[in-house]
Symmetry: C2
DNA sequence: CTCAGTTTGTTCTCACGTTCACAAACTCCT
DNA sequence: AGGAGTTTGTGAACGTGAGAACAAACTGAG
């Protein structure tokens, strides 16, 4: 039973229809929310495996490492799957999120570039249990063709089109060196693949309608390095921080507010 | 001349000065910008290697895969390093960004968990050329101790504290299975490491002042799957898009996983 | 020197994401 | 049945980010 049909798609805050917003609010779940749904799903699976069958937004939020208000708002985009005064049914919510993401059944995946990283990805057990099935491993090096990795054999890139058609592959993973990435990307797109996960440190250009997500180890480390440097600087000498910064900046002529006119004039005359 | 005013922080409408806001207005570069600086750096290195010594914001932006206005705004947080009417000096800008990120010299890094992924990371040549040096490989499995990977030997976790002190390690990489991640994380923090890159599919809790960045392959794939599913649904019947969206729930649960849908629903209701 | 052309740095506006706070809705106890 | 306690779902305020547009500042030719 439980009618619990929530009229969610009643365009919640669409006040004035047809005025300034030509955008379609059609079931569009915000990107930031989409990126967190898999985290919630994993937390729910963990709870489920521990035999817990009900949880509050507070409990699930802390398991997922987010704020509970954010969690509730995120879930509200999917529908009203909780019960006030009680919480969420773990199995039910788990299924609903899995369905929304689209991992109630497996997606066939191809990995291109079977070097160190490609091997690691091919052997990663986490995929199969999370809605993905690796169906093909490709590499441009003929010396590797035929080599077995797990249950699969490495094949040549020329077999891509056939394999993609046969297995209805929709997701491709690029684990090649950077110089090969764009070429591989175009082959994937040519084979009808419209979602690409790119591990190569290169910027890919793709036609409209193709989604690319990038995972870049060096970039992640560099972001950490920035914050680490910042912590070191601030902690080392908070007093001399200002002078360090002043020295670092040289050609900075910040002009805002009152002093701008004077500064500009001076500089223009001097030049 | 030019008292080298800080270009950032004009504090547009600075409400109450000095009293109510203990927030650090000092040189705070927006996170979104910090995340893009490494991309610009890589693009500049590529230009430099091709012998190009000057570039416009337009050119650099397209090499980095972003909008030129965004690029200029990002760079403006660092200072005024360009020349109007001319563009940017590639080498100069490259150095300024590297300095801002903090990769003008190498950061010592430790990798914990030398399985498939750990091996791949240890062998990844990109680190050394981008401001990082792997100085230690640790694993909890004694059977692996002593094994050589590249130039390093695998060591036990008990050596972490000594190695961290000796090499002044500030960045740790976790490449263990999920269940071990939190424990390893605490050991890293205990050894004085305050920046962590986590590849394990687990939520880490750390004390204040420690930065954690997460790289999760399954999550990236699931985000792609969501969009892929969306494309498939919309493309299937573009004409009846409106109606499809209205009853997306029924349609989706009808199309995929009928059996499991029924099972879950039954269970949820039954419970 | 002046003027036209080019490109940066900055301002303004809008959209998106986060967080607070509270009404609505449920359970449990008396 | 009714009231106290709990928890969801959401409206509203706030902060951050993206992009368009433009003034400032440079180059080079005449």
């Amino acid at each position: 039973m439980t009618p619990s049909r929530n009229p969610r798609n009643g365009t919640p805050h669409d006040d004035v229809p047809g005025t300034s917003t030509p955008k379609t609010p059609d079931r569009g779940i915000p990107e930031a929310t989409v990126a967190r749904l898999p985290v919630y799903l994993r937390a729910l699976i963990a709870l489920s495996e521990r035999g817990i069958d009900t949880c509050s937004s507070e409990g699930l939020a802390s398991a997922a490492g987010v704020n509970s208000a954010k969690l509730r708002k995120d879930l509200s985009y999917l529908g009203s799957y909780g019960t006030r005064g009680v919480g969420y049914d773990v199995e039910y919510l788990r299924y609903q999120i899995a369905r929304e993401i689209g991992v109630t059944q497996d997606w066939p995946v191809v990995i291109v570039g079977i070097g160190n990283l490609g091997h690691a990805l091919a052997n990663y057990a986490g995929f199969s249990s999370r809605g993905f099935r690796i169906v093909a491993l490709l590499d441009s090096d003929p010396a590797r063709h035929g080599e077995r990795v797990g249950e699969l054999r490495i094949r040549g890139l020329d077999e891509l089109a056939d394999l993609a058609r046969e297995h209805e592959i929709a997701i491709g993973v690029i684990a090649t060196p950077a110089p090969a990435a764009q070429d591989v990307c175009e082959r994937l797109v040519g084979a009808g693949i419209t979602s690409i996960l790119n591990f190569a440190p290169a910027v890919l250009t793709v036609p409209e309608g193709v989604d690319v997500r990038k995972v870049d180890l060096s970039i992640e480390l560099q972001i950490l390095a920035y914050h680490e440097q910042r912590k070191a600087l601030l902690g080392a000498s908070a007093a001399s921080a200002a002078s360090v910064l002043e020295e670092a900046e040289e050609l900075a002529s910040g002009l805002d507010g009152v002093a701008s006119d004077a500064a500009v004039r001076t500089k223009a005359v001097g030049a």
